[in-house]
């Protein structure tokens, strides 16, 4: 026996191991993963067979095989050798859909399978003969003489047909997705298989460069070759393929950023082994030195490989720096869902949410529709507006995203990458967001849809809140306007009350009105008319507020006009007044009204009463007690009936008498227990203040009413008119 073979140079041996062991293992795992993910897809199985082929890239390995495993080696090596060309052909025939050739000759694939099976059986018999039992065939090469040419030519035929079918499929592909898959496969085939052909075949054949000499060429060839298995896996695994240029762009980004760290780590380890470990252990004779450098190496290796190592930190930094939006898409959208509720302006809310979704999901086109008066109208858009099936929106019940497809979103169509994102309110749909395709053309993932649903719910709530806030603001503005108008009306009405009371010798007059709503329907007046007479009037218009105030103004105007232009009797004056008010007011509007005329010379007070609380004349007797004289006089309220007649009453006023006229808001003032103050209590209050002047008596009556009501809210306008007479006949 000869001496053992010269040990292979260590760097070359490492390279050999990478080629013989690492790449086949990687491809095999990739193939198993593809078949595991798509077990019902025959193309996945073809790809599994193709990705098993790198195990056969070491033709001379049988010399080193352990004898006990030799049978396995013979069987498997041959099987893969024969299956791979057939699998390549069948992949071209059936990927991504049945080719025209398969439709025309459906039996062809079965013929190829049968032929391949026959060749495998024959080849296995031949190999068994050669390796294990030479007695089977007298001539060991009998089968090979026939089989080898058949195998070579059939393999060449299959490979050639694969390329032809690939181009034919690309030309006749019916869907954009199929075309994209084929383009990716074609690109991978050209790069992967083409690099093998050029680097390992053409360049050495033409004498330009030999990968056995130029090692960098060998590495380049190996790296480029990996494109083929990767594209094979990609075109079958992905639900929807991206176009080649997008894949390239994404791949380059990934390589430049994320994979840089991995490359850095591998390069560091390789350099450590290549330049330090190998020379150290190859030439070291000093055990101490070897131990020292071995420890240093272990330490460096640990730092490179441990978790949270500098390379890991670098990886995270790159992720944050370059892919922050994509990397944190989930986090960003979750935050957006929370912040959507805090924005009160609808336009800002829509703009913020739209812009963030566009940034995070890389969506170039986005249109927001909002429901205005029952119609969905475009409110905001990024890029050209998208067409949206409004009919679909009208039937939407939930916030779940809808695929904006030709079938009205009933089923998700992987070809359609547009989404309708309903913006639901608590009771109705507030609008929708139409999302165009992503820039990557990748479909929306289930995670995207889940997060978008969450964002849309929060946006809907935010919109509803902001709209409610806007409504409240509008109401507040409206109320402020009303309050301002009421204030103006109050000022106007204030002017309708006597600004300056008549100054008549021996007569002290005072009056005041306290309204519930700023303006009211109570009325009092005191003016001179006729020949030195003093007119006193008090009334209470039905209702409250502006409408009552308007009728009160009308009543005052009529009274003032009539007292100046006619000198008729009070009863006639009241009848005319009734007629005028009846004509000027709504059918359900009326007023109680009392009018009296005091003649200071005669000390006589004539009066008519149209349904008003009878005023009281308070007369103090010599013994100090008070006599009450009610100025009762029948007559209907004014403004309710077209015609009414009144009676006139008359009373002689003595010096010291108090005439107190009031509206029911005073006598019916209530406390918190819903108890009425009452006319008697009011008169008692007047009695107690009777030694004061008229203005103070009015104040005393109001103060006593306030004491009784003890802070309970005023429910009706309150008016008091007091005349104190000190004149003598």
């Amino acid at each position: 026996m000869e001496d053992p073979p010269v040990p292979t140079a260590v760097p070359e041996a490492i390279l050999t191991l990478v080629v013989i062991l690492v790449i086949p293992l990687f491809c095999l795992l990739l193939g198993v993963w593809v078949a595991l993910a798509r077990p019902f897809d025959p193309n996945a199985w073809f790809i599994l067979i193709l990705l098993t082929y790198p195990q056969n890239m070491n033709p001379g390995a049988h010399r080193w095989w352990i004898p006990a495993w030799l049978t396995l080696r013979l069987f498997w090596h041959l099987l893969i050798q024969f299956l791979v060309p057939a699998a390549l052909f069948l992949l071209g025939l059936l990927f991504p859909v049945r080719s025209r050739l398969d439709k025309a000759l459906p039996w062809l694939k079965w013929l190829v399978i049968a032929l391949t099976g026959s060749m495998v059986i024959a080849a296995f018999a031949s190999e068994y003969n050669v390796w294990c039992d030479l007695s089977l065939l007298p001539r060991v090469d009998a089968i090979d003489r026939f089989l080898n040419p058949v195998f070579i030519w059939s393999a060449l035929f299959y490979v050639a047909l694969y390329w032809v079918l690939l181009f034919d499929q690309l030309r006749s592909a019916s869907s954009p997705d199929a075309r994209r898959r084929l383009r990716v496969l074609l690109a991978g085939s050209v790069v992967g298989l083409g690099s093998i052909l050029v680097i390992f075949g053409l360049l050495p054949y033409l004498g330009i460069a030999d990968p056995d000499v130029n090692r960098w060429l060998l590495f380049l060839g190996l790296i480029l070759m990996l494109f083929y298995p990767l594209t094979l896996a990609y075109v079958v695994i992905v639900q929807r393929a991206m176009d080649v240029h997008i894949l390239l762009r994404m791949g380059i980004k990934y390589l430049l950023a994320s994979a840089t760290v991995v490359v850095f780590r591998i390069a560091g380890l390789t350099a450590l082994i290549w330049f330090v470990a190998i020379p150290l252990f190859a030439h070291a004779h000093d055990r101490l030195t070897t131990t020292f450098w071995g420890t240093v190496l272990l330490l460096f290796g640990y730092l490179l490989l441990k978790k949270r190592s500098p390379t890991d930190l670098l990886q995270r930094w790159i992720d944050r720096k370059f892919f922050r939006e994509a990397y944190d898409a989930e986090v960003t959208l979750s935050q957006l869902a929370r912040t959507a509720q805090t924005i009160s302006d609808p336009a800002t809310l829509i703009q913020t949410v739209s812009q963030r979704i566009s940034d995070v999901l890389h969506v170039n086109r986005l249109t927001v529709l909002l429901c205005r008066n029952g119609n969905f109208e475009p409110s905001y858009a990024i890029g050209p507006a998208l067409e949206t099936p409004v009919r679909v929106l009208e039937q939407v019940q939930t916030a779940r995203p809808i695929f904006n497809s030709a079938n009205n979103g009933r089923t998700p169509d992987p070809e359609v990458r547009e989404l309708l994102l309903p913006l639901p309110g608590r009771t109705q749909l507030l609008g929708a967001m139409a999302l165009g395709p992503k820039r990557s053309e990748a479909p929306y993932t289930p995670s995207d849809l889940r997060l978008l649903e969450s964002v849309s719910v929060q946006t809907g709530l935010g919109l509803e809140l902001s709209e409610a806030a806007a409504s409240l603001a509008a109401v507040a503005v409206e109320q402020a306007n009303i309050a301002r108008e009421i204030e103006v009306a109050r000022e106007v009405q204030e002017r309708l009350f006597p600004q300056r009371l008549p100054a008549i010798q021996g007569v002290d007059i005072a009056g005041a009105c306290r309204t519930v709503f700023g303006v009211g329907g109570d009325y009092y007046d005191a003016f001179e008319f006729g020949e030195g007479c003093l007119g006193l009037a008090i009334g209470d218009v039905s209702g409250k507020g502006i409408s009552a105030a308007l009728l009160m103004a009308s009543l005052r105007a009529c009274l003032r006009t009539m007292t100046r232009t006619t000198s008729s009797k009070l009863t006639q004056l009241m009848s005319h007044l009734n007629r005028l008010i009846y004509e000027a007011s709504a059918i359900n509007r009326y007023a109680t009204f009392f009018f009296g005329s005091f003649d200071p010379g005669a000390s006589r007070f004539d009066y008519v009463n149209a349904g008003h609380n009878p005023p009281v004349v308070l007369r103090k007797s010599p013994n100090g007690s008070y006599e009450w004289i009610r100025l009762d006089c029948d007559g209907p309220v004014v403004g309710l009936l077209p015609e009414a007649s009144y009676e006139q009453g008359s009373v002689v006023i003595h010096p010291g008498d108090l005439l107190i006229a009031y509206t029911d808001g005073v006598s019916e003032a209530m406390n918190s227990a819903d108890e009425e103050w009452g006319e008697e209590a009011m008169i008692v209050a007047a009695e107690q203040a009777s030694d004061r002047n008229a203005e103070e008596i009015v104040k005393a009556i109001f103060a006593a009413a306030d004491v009784f009501s003890a802070g309970a809210s005023q429910h009706d306008d309150m008016t008091v008119l007091v005349m104190r007479c000190s004149c003598t006949r």
């Binding site: 000869e2 293992l25 195990q55 396995l72 003969n129 390796w131």
Partner: protein
């Protein structure tokens, strides 16, 4: 249709079983190939170098040592180490366990038919 249900369930099971079998064989092959190639590449067993290359029982090429011993290209091996030559697997086994300096006896028939 009770049968259709069981068929539907059985189909993926068969496919997964097939995939498992395929992966098991390929994985075993990968392990055996890795071990064998590592042993051979780094000469971990101090294995002898083959003095000639065989195809079946035909000597395809002979190293100088074999030529010196009288073996030539085209010879047919009949007996090796006193064992009838049944195939290359026998030669692989002998070579696997041989050490440098060991002798191997051959009975060959040359092209002229002489032994």
């Amino acid at each position: 249709m009770p049968n259709s249900g069981s068929t539907n369930v059985a189909t993926p099971r068969i496919l997964y079983a097939l995939l498992f079998l395929y992966a098991a064989i390929a994985g075993t092959y990968e392990i055996a190939n890795s071990v064998s190639t590592t042993i051979g590449t780094f000469n971990l067993r101090d294995q002898v170098q083959a003095p000639f290359q065989l195809y079946g029982n035909l000597i395809e090429s002979a190293e100088p040592a074999a030529v010196h011993a009288g073996v030539a290209k085209g010879d047919t091996i009949l007996v090796i180490d006193h064992l009838p030559f049944t195939g290359q697997a026998l030669w692989q086994r002998i070579r696997w366990y041989a050490r440098p300096g060991d002798a191997v006896t051959l009975l060959v028939r040359n092209r002229t038919g002489r032994h």
